[in-house]
């Protein structure tokens, strides 16, 4: 399969200068906001029941990046979260593991110690998360630390200030530099913070910019601002990865993060994936949920399907 490196070379001519890049990004077709939201809303009306629901719940659990990004994170909390990622429901061992745990760089080693020998990956935010307001060498050092500590995935934030000011090449070069820092040790997720990009057109441009610069995943948001993942902005990013693969043959993953709190919403996102990019993305290598409280709701729904009784918050952990 073609890699992100081949994609980068395919776009070598448009990334030579800021003006060329600007011409390319502003030449992308405009987004029909009303149509996009209507499409996302109509895909959210599907009724997913019984066996399909059971499949969707297990798939959603396996796609979760179980996240704790608080100033108050302690090693104990990270260890507890990692243990939960490996064994989300101790009363039912058939529950799949989550895809990864997502922590701050200084907690990577702690999480890694618990997760060694399991399939659960360690994702680390980096590059002065969540604001991204630091000099490039600081961002690169942040990334290097996380990779050295054993992170399998790096979630970087773009410099929204530079993006909104039109300094696209600067953003491009920063992503490429972080990608180089990750090397082949870690997959790179690029966070656009869609809630700060103001328009759907900007989200489309940012998506292409990220993919051209070598992102393995494009991710909606940090979870730290008012507007996080919505069905509409995720649909838009799914369309971008679909078009990108059609053009270059390179497949890029998508990660909505923040604001997805219950099973019903998660299943709506899975419907979006299936209807927009198809079954190729219905796998935790290509699609993730950045979430923390979502897992408990999925587990309660799973218990309901297994036992026929509604479960309650007394039967899942308090994170």
């Amino acid at each position: 399969m073609p890699t992100t490196a081949t994609a980068a070379s395919a776009f070598a001519d448009v990334t030579t200068s800021n003006s060329a890049l600007r011409r390319f990004l502003h030449g992308l077709p405009g987004v029909d906001a009303v149509g996009l939201e209507a499409r996302a809303a109509s895909l959210g009306t599907r009724s997913i029941k019984t066996t399909a629901k059971a499949y969707a719940i297990d798939l959603a659990i396996s796609m979760i990046d179980l996240t704790t990004l608080e100033g108050a994170d302690t090693p104990g909390k990270v260890r507890a979260l990692a243990a939960k990622a490996v064994n989300p429901d101790p009363t039912d061992r058939t529950t799949p593991t989550t895809a990864a745990v997502c922590v701050y760089p200084d907690m990577v080693a702690t999480a890694k110690a618990v997760l060694n020998g399991t399939d659960v990956k360690v994702a680390s935010v980096a590059t002065a998360f969540p604001a991204g307001r630091a000099a490039l060498p600081v961002k690169l050092a942040d990334t290097r630390d996380a990779v050295a500590a054993g992170a399998d995935e790096i979630d970087m934030v773009i410099d929204r200030g530079a993006f909104l000011a039109g300094h696209y090449l600067e953003v491009f070069e920063q992503i490429a530099a972080v990608k180089a820092e990750c090397g082949d040790k870690a997959r790179l997720k690029v966070i656009f913070e869609t809630g700060e990009l103001s328009t759907y057109d900007n989200i489309r441009r940012a998506s292409w910019l990220g993919m051209m610069a070598g992102a393995d995943f494009i991710k909606t948001s940090t979870g730290k601002v008012a507007v996080n993942a919505t069905p509409a902005n995720t649909l838009l990013m799914l369309e971008a990865v679909r078009d990108f693969r059609a053009q270059t043959g390179v497949q890029i993953g998508v990660k909505p993060a923040g604001g997805i709190r219950n099973t019903k919403e998660a299943i709506k996102f899975l419907v979006l994936v299936n209807e927009t990019v198809g079954a190729d993305w219905l796998d935790n290598h290509w699609f993730r949920f950045g979430a923390s409280s979502l897992l408990n709701d999925l587990l309660m729904q799973r218990q309901k399907l297994a036992t026929g009784r509604y479960s309650g918050p007394d039967y899942v952990t308090v994170d």
């Binding site: 509604y310 479960s311 309650g312 039967y315």
Partner: protein
Amino acid sequence: MSDVTRLGVFKTYKLYVGGKFPRSESGRVYEVTDSKGKWLANAPLSSRKDARDAVVAARKAFGGWSGATAYNRGQILYRIAEMLEGRREQFVREVADAEGLSKSKAAAVVDAAIDRWVWYAGWTDKIGQVVGGANPVAGPFFNLSTPEPTGVVTVLAPQESSFLGLVSVIAPVIATGNTVVVIASEKSPLPALSLGEVLATSDLPGGVVNVLSGRTAEIAPSLAAHQDVNAIDLTGADEALAKELEIAAADNLKRVLRPQPGDFSEAPGTHRLTAFLETKTVWHPTGSLGASGSAY
């Protein structure tokens, strides 16, 4: 204009869940008739998902309501009586229709229901002294027993006494700090649904009382088996249903109040207040006892 016939404005009766007035998630309604079979209104026919949503709302409200001071809960219960007083005429009409009573008998029933709120309003900050207290123990401890609310309580409201009976079963449950999911009388749910409108304007936090209407035998089993419901009052269940529900409720050791004989017009006593209380006992060390028999 007086010869022009005015079009009637029919009321859409809705559920009361989480402080809001939703229709049933299922979109279903059923016809409610008066005691002579004349159509009165359509009431929502709740599904088990409505019951689930109601439990979520009740659980969310529990922390705030059980943590409120008993004095504050008493004030709010009294406020409900005040609000009911202002809408007396409406409830007299609805109770008369629902139960086939004359106007004066229905008025007596509504008065009794209002008085019942006042009765339980007074009990909120007194029940602790009656059933709790300091226990004499042979050691250097303060030993205190204090009644605590059980949690989320499902109540099957009485089928016959659609208003006084309803008030008599939910008021004692919330007076002590529990939150309630109540299934209204199947045959005559309208007074219960209207009571929701009164509760919404009485400073009662949303979710403390959640009113569902529909088929008792359809909604109750999922509530009886619900792992996040702490207790169930089977007043409105017939013998067969009560047995089935009690078995389902055993799974997470729900507290069960079986149907009690008796007339709701009688003095209520305190047994319904204590039915959904749990006694917590605290041992507080006081240090060694001095020669006087006290550590102080």
